[in-house]
């Protein structure tokens, strides 16, 4: 039996009920929103169920929506069922004041560096991560550069003036 988005949706609603929201299928890829405290339960469910079998974490990143009060930061998981070649996208929203999300490193070892990267650029605090420190940027950096309130340009420099460089 081929795995379909309808079947995944029905299994998710059957197991978690109304707490799974925001189901949509942009470009045929199922995308669901999961409450912050349930993210590990949903990931485990998708991993362990024999009919679902989402056992590969393709990507883990975040998006910053400054205009959404109370859910500014969105952590995005992309999972892949390698047998059926079906993908699913999970979104977990967190407030920017206290962006605590449970770590997925217990389930996927590959999540370790991805969560460090997400912490590095967005400041998501992955609760329970074994080594949550910066991975790509310099250790001295004191802000999270991909949050929208920080300009892209290097603010520490003094030699380029704004007229010449269009800043």
């Amino acid at each position: 039996m081929a795995l379909t988005n309808e079947f995944i949706k029905s299994r998710l609603t059957e197991k978690f009920g109304p707490s799974i929201t925001g189901m949509e299928e942009p470009y045929g890829m199922l995308s669901v929103t999961v409450p912050r405290d349930l993210n590990l339960k949903v990931l485990n469910f998708l991993f362990d169920e024999p009919e679902l079998g989402f056992r590969f974490l393709t990507d883990l990143t975040a998006v910053h929506y400054p205009e959404r009060t109370g859910e500014e930061l969105c952590v995005v998981y992309h999972l892949h069922n390698l047998v059926e070649n079906i993908r699913i996208r999970l979104k977990v929203y967190a407030p920017v004041e206290k962006p605590d999300v449970y770590t997925a490193t217990g389930l996927f070892s590959g999540a370790n560096w991805m969560e460090r990267e997400t912490y590095d650029f967005f400041g998501i605090n992955f609760v329970g991560h074994p080594n949550l420190k910066r991975i790509l940027n310099v250790d001295e950096m004191d802000y999270f550069p991909l949050r929208k309130e920080f300009p892209l340009e290097d603010q520490t420099r003094i030699d380029k003036d704004d007229d010449m460089f269009g800043r």
């Binding site: 550069p145 340009e153 420099r157």
Partner: protein, 195 residues
């Protein structure tokens, strides 16, 4: 039938030995002796035997490879011996974008080089950060090491890199032997936190 490609068809000039020589410095010459100042001899020797250390991180490094190749042939200027150990080299050539995380490595390579040492920043990125005016890129390597010559361009053509090398040669040629012990030079290094 004659061969389509023929070699060695030109008669060689018996007086041309095919060796590049440099101009003799000013001095006093008589039968069996030549006297000049040590500065000039040392400068001449250093100038024509610079060992470059390529620190190539992106497209400027590709241009440098063309510069080293047979078409542009940096070897004509006495710099064909590219060293990959900083301890043997005289000229640090930084070519390409240096991320902030790479900055300490550039500085460490510079510290490992023995005096006298020169630095050339090839391309817009190494000179000023170039188009990468962003949080992760070092805005010019002169923030971590002193630079002698900047080569503009994105990337610079091999001719521009050769021009930069020639300017380095001018600096090497005319440098006073006391410069590296002077207070000004020590102050420069101290401003970069180097003793």
């Amino acid at each position: 039938m004659s061969r389509p490609v023929r070699f060695n068809i030109k008669e060689k000039d018996k007086n041309d030995w095919g060796i590049n020589t440099v101009e003799m410095p000013d001095g006093h010459m008589g039968e069996g002796f030549f006297a000049t100042s040590l500065d000039k001899v040392v400068g001449l020797a250093r100038k024509n035997s610079i060992w470059p250390l390529p620190f190539a991180t992106s497209c400027c490094g590709i241009e440098f490879m063309a510069t080293m190749g047979s078409h542009y042939d940096l070897g004509r200027f006495g710099s064909e011996r590219v060293g990959f150990s900083p301890r043997q080299c005289d000229l640090l050539m930084v070519m390409g974008t240096i991320a902030k995380k790479m900055g300490p490595i550039v500085k460490q390579v510079y510290l490992q080089m023995a005096e006298p040492r020169w630095v050339i920043a090839v391309g817009a990125c190494a000179s000023s950060g170039g188009i990468f005016d962003t949080y992760s890129v070092l805005q010019g390597i002169d923030q971590v090491v002193p630079v002698d010559v900047y080569v503009p361009g994105c990337p610079p053509r091999p001719e521009a890199i050769i021009d930069g090398i020639l300017r380095i040669q001018d600096l090497v040629h005319n440098e006073s032997l006391r410069r590296r012990n002077g207070d000004q030079y020590k102050g420069l290094l101290e401003s970069y936190g180097i003793q």
